[in-house]
Symmetry: C2
Subunit: 406 residues, 2 copies
Amino acid sequence: MKTSLKQNLAINFQPISQCVRVSFNYDVHFTRGLFKLDNSLLAQAIAADGHSAAKPVVAVIDGGLLQYQDKLLEKLLAYAQRYQDVFTLSSEPIIVPGGETVKNDSRFIEQIHQSINLGGLCRHSYVLAIGGGAVLDMAGYAATTAHRGIRLLRVPTTVLAQNDSGVGVKNGINAFGKKNFLGTFMPPYAVLNDFDFLTTLDDRDWRSGIAEAVKVALIKDRNFFDFIQTYAEKLANRDMDIMERLIYRCSQLHLEHIAGSGDPFEMGSSRPLDFGHWAAHKLEHLTNYSLRHGEAVAIGIALDSTYSYLTGQLLRSHWQQILTTLKILGFALYLPTLTEQLDRPDHPHCLFRGLTEFREHLGGELTITLLQGIGQGIEVHKVDLSLYRQAILMLQDWELSSVLSN
Amino acid sequence: MKTSLKQNLAINFQPISQCVRVSFNYDVHFTRGLFKLDNSLLAQAIAADGHSAAKPVVAVIDGGLLQYQDKLLEKLLAYAQRYQDVFTLSSEPIIVPGGETVKNDSRFIEQIHQSINLGGLCRHSYVLAIGGGAVLDMAGYAATTAHRGIRLLRVPTTVLAQNDSGVGVKNGINAFGKKNFLGTFMPPYAVLNDFDFLTTLDDRDWRSGIAEAVKVALIKDRNFFDFIQTYAEKLANRDMDIMERLIYRCSQLHLEHIAGSGDPFEMGSSRPLDFGHWAAHKLEHLTNYSLRHGEAVAIGIALDSTYSYLTGQLLRSHWQQILTTLKILGFALYLPTLTEQLDRPDHPHCLFRGLTEFREHLGGELTITLLQGIGQGIEVHKVDLSLYRQAILMLQDWELSSVLSN
């Protein structure tokens, strides 16, 4: 018997190759009046798993939002009351500061964890995060680490969060002065985009989010760029109808990319969606986050498009269309920070230092995306800093002449 | 043109259904003398990604190990020196306490994050965690949250870690007095099982890890249970050859389960591998972790097997084989904690309170695994506490009679 057991067990101590496949499914919804009592979308999203008991929910709300939506809390409480058979708020909603501040202090994470603990939430309970990208990032990190992952419902309230960051798979906070130093790749349970939140955005936040749409259009979808170009002035003038269409298409392109990239958790070095972002991240940091992310991205796009033109890959006419569209949308394409310490690429204040930091955060070899045409990104692993210096000076000229012509 | 754009963009604001599929591949290696200079396994695992530059590595070492392996640090440093073209230790190795202590204090996580920051590590760099399950869990949580995931190399040094926790996809620490309240599901980059570490384990740690092998055998593989039963005395007497075969088969069964379960990140309620664990978790807590995890699991297995017998699902002869095998392996199957507050299921000191806590951590409805036969687990969602009380008394009798017969 012993011999047969030995054979059965087939012991040879060869390495065991493990392949773990995980599928995450979630819906991105588009609505208006999310917390109106007759809008059952949120309740339906929670009830969708078929379990009958009312689920505990911890709500996290972007305090910045309450300035413009002063009835939001009452609405949420009334909504919870109306759908009490589906969910209950296990504590008072947690109000946190909006914007990058919330990602710079780990106490907000602890506060959410505490609330999850006190409410006895489990992996089938929910964190409902309502706010801009920074609040969603932070609340998502808290949710995805409690019990190794509580369900995350994102309600993005800015253009940027609705068309980009809020629909993706990243969560995180800053640490050691580094953006997103801590975080997780973990998809949300559902995303609920309520267009009504956009009507009260200030102009900078309205505009800022359009930069990510320009970005994804430039690297993936020429038709979509044509759409933005055609309606640039309407977008600048806050046309809601056009904005809704822009958000829908932009989030769709982001979602398609994440699902189809083959590397949704970014284990390799390729990062095509980060077009224009190496400079943007550095600019945000250098300006102490006085630039909005989208404003920095617009400059990053202008810079990398100009560089793409200088390397001979992008047609002059396309380059001009890109810069003109960004200008009509209302973006500044140059600021003095771009030229600081330009000849000292390792200086912490030099923009080019952003290339090193970008590589370090993503890992592996330097990989940035440039343009071969409108709608056509291409990855490169080496850059010519002298051409980049030239591109920066061209942006300076362009900005100057567009100021003069106004 | 505007009309055709509208058509092309096909705007209708229907929900977008997203499916993100992620594949994680990693190898579990078996070796001896991992840090011997002529053993290139670790260096090969790091070099496997094909990038040429030497990779920075932060090493985290279980301090408990250094009592028995007093040359370990020197060996690691010499190994790093020998393979300096493949990797460099970016800082002094971080020595942390072994055992559950390390999971109760978030400062160790911060220490590792700090070291990752100072060393400029990126997602293509490595955290090398060497130690028992608790240290691997903690270091894994730190690694998988820095930059949203640095590569984790696990070197499990106990039986339990080599055949179970160290080969799986879970990382975590305790918080708010709850085991694994914080954590991530994220597979390691590679696992390197070095059997030589087992020779210096104390008897309790040697034995403790065998409980998980008994567990997985009972629910999945009758042949494997026969193997354990046949060699129980040899295992108790520290036969290395048998132990190596046990570890290989047990880790294989765990890996197969994780890959084949359809729910590796445990988003549903089913948890078949947690046979015997609802009671085990509670017992660890009630005894203030003076019980090893495996010792608690052995009692949990004995209890749930006895209950399975009492419900008429498990043959009496099988039930006896299970208890006898556990006894020969050297496990105690009863301790007075089991009978404390037994008639008050909601009392924090009552074992049955563990059923609620188990459900809360896993989420969804109560799901525990029982036995229909040896090698055949079955999930149930309701239990009969009076039968469980009877099962506890039977264990008490069994333990008493086995003490008397010795």
